[in-house]
């Protein structure tokens, strides 16, 4: 057990945890955040994605003591004063999710993609998104939303 400091959505937290505990458990169980989801615990699906200094990271396999002073952003941390991030606005506009459990991964990965590639081609979107899972199979809606966000 160690005292570990985490900077999440602009707030600083200190938790007691095993050094090798995955970040996901710190976010969900210690900090009570809900947006990152447990999908597989194997970095195979993306449901647990958070941004670490802007980069999408699978929190289910990221040891909690590996973050240092990095800024962690969760899905709920994207919006400002309740105003959706443009990617969220696009996903809402396109009514993308069915069950919605995977949406975290798609939205966060889109945010990261558009930060570096504001006008991505279909191939660039696919390259960024491949490997993420959506079991309800809303892929065509996801593509519409990513393109809408890129035009916003």
């Amino acid at each position: 057990m160690a005292k570990i400091e985490l900077n999440v959505d602009g707030k600083s937290h200190t938790i007691d945890a095993d050094n090798d505990m995955p970040l996901l458990y710190a976010l969900r169980d210690d900090l009570g955040l809900k947006n990152p989801k447990f999908g597989c615990g194997l970095a195979q699906c993306g449901a647990c994605t958070v941004l670490v200094d802007g980069q999408p990271v699978r929190s289910c396999v990221t040891p909690v003591d590996s973050l240092g002073k990095s800024k962690i952003t969760t899905l709920a941390g994207l919006s400002q004063n309740g105003v959706p991030h443009k990617v969220q606005a696009a996903f809402i506009e396109e009514q993308v999710p069915q069950c919605g459990y995977c949406m975290n991964g798609w939205v966060m990965t889109t945010v990261s993609l558009l930060a570096t590639t504001p006008k991505p081609t279909d191939a660039q979107i696919e390259e960024a998104m491949t490997g993420l899972k959506c079991r309800c199979a809303t892929h065509v809606s996801i593509m519409r939303a990513v393109k809408r966000a890129a035009q916003a």
Binding site: D18, M21, R28, G41, Q98, Y101
Partner: protein
């Protein structure tokens, strides 16, 4: 500490976009919805279905739930239509046995066709009663009154008006409805009121937006995995390496270094609990268990279909006029000039929901026990929890909270029973969530099957006899109804005996042949109890595989008799609505007649197009798939799907279209990827690497939907109908591209290459 209970329910109910509401528990929520003074739920009382609040908004109490296709919005529209209220003023309180009657949960695409119709009838009756009340209140005859947006006014003296809220807001309807005596999907009510004439529809056919989308995207909504109850412990199951093995010794010292970790062990049910979730995971991994010396229960995977062929059936059944006269079928085939026969094989498949299932149970033997579940059937899951805890049904409140996907009887039904067993054992609220390997590996499966189809052709090339025969594992080895613990894995582990149903199904379409015979045989499971291959319903149960066989064979017969597949279907399909979808889809793609594989090629890529059609409880769907096959690698891409869809009246075209898009894409995943793998000891498909599903790089580039809106036909249900013909259309398109007839799924590169070799 606040309980973050059912927040999503509230968000959904109030259609909030970004508001973060934290309600302190069930009672506060009840107060918000005015439920604390509510009369007991009674199917004969109108108040059990609908209420009007003081602000004039209506609440419909829906004993089903929505898994993301927008069913609740469809219901809201049906209720709004009858009440002449704007849809944003209709709230749908769903999936909670404390607030709604048992309407069977999500089941068989009946959310709108049964559940919605019941609430629509209740809404019409509520409107009738309020118009009568207004007539008295205003002193004018009811015939002189009109309703607009919840305001009832006199046609002759428009100044005379009163609102729903003023008439009854905050009070409960004290009126009866004629109940048909059934609970579950069959629950229906008749009322004095007449429902609206379709020519007066204002809300049907519009596309208001779903209320759960924004909370899901903003990260402000609760999933069942997010429910927290004070004092709650986290639990994990410990499962054996060999299916069927049970623990004989457990080394408690192996987890004593983990704070607060405890063992729960009853018969073959073994698990751990801990105050912190990560500690529960660690304890699950660290626990040293000696397992019984179980015999490996399964054949080698390669022998699956010969196992099915050779197994003795435990039950037979079928459909059609010739079931009692099989000799007439035999005679018809004897009289044929030529008999064509093909056999199709389909593997076990998994719901593989996005996350492994989770449930929270707060066992209160002397008060109200609460179950929070992602199950499609929260009422029934509550009955199952009551049964396993030795409580009466009414002592358990089952509350649905969105779970990680569903698509039938997935592992959610197991999680509810597991959480209940844990909670009783430790005397505290318990949150149980499975690990990924349990979700895919140990969740229920759709049954593997073999289908043999024969057609007798006369000398003029006419089909004179048709026999479709399936041999399969039980479609309901565990019932999709979750009321009985023996229909769950943890229930079986604590000794509840399995009660297999031994049932199957037959194709659904309106082909007419002089002799049409449909039969099935169900075989016993390979492991009776506690099996990772226990079979149950997966979205459109049996639909994709039965119609893969049927519609592939229709193409085979068409080509064998030198006819075009569309022309052949139109010549043999008898129902006009069915013919209309076939016609609509073939017109939409400008179908070119053909009597064999066209094998269009560009370099290494072959292009093909195939049609299939099927019906489902009144909904009919025809689809044309367009595929590309890489002739070197054998990889198949489902590029474009054109779907003609008739489910009766269309309530919300946008949500219907997106439901169809999801079904097409999920069926494509089933068609090209999905096959549960196992070895002699256990299922080896345990994650997304070993059970791959559709990737975004493999999505259809176009899904073109043609909706046929039948305003005068009640809604038939659209949740699953478009899953059904997709696999077959893919198979027919692959044949058109390559000349290879794939009769075993899924259509992987290996199978394609083997066919091309």
């Amino acid at each position: 500490m606040n309980q973050h209970i059912n927040r999503r329910h509230l968000l959904s109910a109030f259609g909030a976009l970004t508001v973060s509401v934290v309600m302190p528990g069930v009672s506060a929520r009840a107060a918000t919805l005015g439920l604390e003074k509510r009369p007991a739920l009674d199917p004969k009382k109108l108040a059990s279905y609908i209420s009007i609040r003081q602000d004039g908004t209506a609440i419909a109490y829906f004993g089903k739930m929505d898994m993301g296709q927008g069913t609740d919005m469809g219901v809201a529209q049906m209720v709004a239509e009858e009440l002449d209220l704007p849809v944003e003023r209709v709230l749908v309180d769903m999936g909670d046995s404390g607030t709604s009657l048992d309407q069977g949960g999500a089941s068989g695409s009946t959310g709108v066709s049964n559940g919605g119709v019941t609430l629509r009838n209740a809404a019409a009756e509520a409107r009738r009663l309020m118009v009568d009340m207004a007539a008295q209140h205003l002193g004018v005859p009811a015939a002189d009154l009109v309703v607009d947006s919840g305001i009832i006014s006199s046609k002759s003296t428009p100044a005379k008006k009163v609102s729903y809220g003023e008439l009854i807001g905050g009070r409960w309807f004290d009126s009866e409805v004629e109940w048909n005596g059934q609970f579950g999907n069959g629950l229906a009510v008749k009322t004095i009121a007449k429902v609206k004439d379709p020519k007066d529809y204002k809300v049907y056919g519009t596309s208001p937006r779903r209320r759960d989308v924004a909370p899901k995207i903003m990260g402000t909504g609760d999933f069942v995995t997010d429910i927290k109850v004070p004092g709650m412990l986290h639990a994990r199951l410990v499962m054996p390496e060999i299916a069927g093995a049970s623990p004989v010794a457990v080394d408690e010292s192996s987890i004593k270094h983990i704070p607060g970790a405890r063992i729960v062990w009853e018969k073959a049910f073994l698990g751990v609990v801990a105050p912190k979730e990560w500690d529960a995971v660690k304890a699950m991994r660290a626990l040293k268990v000696t397992w019984s010396d179980a015999k490996a229960p399964f054949p080698e995977q390669k022998d699956l279909y010969s196992h099915i062929r050779n197994a003795k059936p435990v039950k037979t059944g079928g459909e059609g006029a010739f079931l009692k006269e099989p000799e007439k079928v035999a005679d018809a085939f004897k009289g044929a000039d030529k008999v064509i026969e093909s056999t199709f094989e389909w593997p076990f498949q998994s719901h593989a929901s996005m996350g492994p299932a989770c449930a929270v149970v707060d066992y209160q033997p002397n008060g109200q026990t609460t179950l929070w579940t992602g199950s499609q059937k929260p009422h029934h899951a509550g009955y199952g929890v009551a049964a396993v805890l030795g409580l009466k049904n009414e002592q358990v409140r089952g509350i649905w909270v969105p779970g990680p996907g569903s698509y039938g009887r997935n592992d959610a039904g197991d999680a509810a029973i597991a959480a209940a067993i844990f909670s009783k054992a430790v005397g505290k609220p318990v949150r149980y969530q499975a690990m990924r390997n349990e979700g895919t590996g140990w969740g229920p499966k759709s049954p593997a099957s073999v289908h043999t189809v024969r057609a007798g052709i006369d000398k003029d090339g006419k089909v004179i006899a048709w026999h479709f025969h399936s041999k399969s594992f039980d479609r309901l080895n565990v019932n999709s109804n979750e009321s009985y613990p023996g229909d769950s894995l943890p229930g079986q582990l604590i000794g509840s005996p399995p009660k297999p149903n031994n049932v199957y199904g037959t194709p659904s379409n309106s082909y007419k042949f002089p002799v049409r015979h449909e039969t099935w045989e169900v075989i016993a499971p390979m492991l009776d109890s506690g099996s990772p291959l226990r079979s149950s319903h997966l979205r459109d149960p049996l639909g994709p595989e039965i119609h893969f066989a049927h519609e592939s064979f229709v193409d085979e017969v068409a080509f064998a008799t030198k006819r075009d597949p569309v022309e052949f279907r139109l010549a043999h399909v008898s129902d006009q609505r069915d013919r209309d979808v076939i016609k609509a889809v073939s017109d939409k793609v400008n179908w070119q007649a053909r009597t064999g594989a066209r094998k269009e090629r560009k370099g290494d890529v072959a292009f093909g197009q195939g049609i299939a059609y099927s019906t489902r409880n009144g909904t009919r769907v025809a689809v044309v798939a367009e595929v590309e096959v890489d002739m070197k690698t054998g990889k198949v891409r489902g590029k474009k799907f054109t779907v003609a869809h008739d489910c009766g009246v269309v309530i919300n075209p946008q949500l219907l279209t997106q439901t169809i898009e999801g079904n097409v894409s999920q069926a494509l995943s089933r068609a090209i990827h999905e096959e549960i793998k196992f070895d002699t000891k256990n299922v080896t498909s345990v994650d997304w690497e070993t059970y791959p599903i559709l990737d975004i790089t493999e999505r259809p580039l176009t899904i073109d939907v043609v909706l046929i809106n039948r305003q005068n036909i009640p809604p038939n249900g659209a949740g699953e109908g478009s899953m059904r013909p997709i696999v077959a259309a893919m198979a027919n398109a692959i044949f058109d591209a390559t000349g290879v007839r794939l009769r075993q799924g899924p259509f992987t590169p290996d199978r394609l290459r083997a066919g091309l070799a």
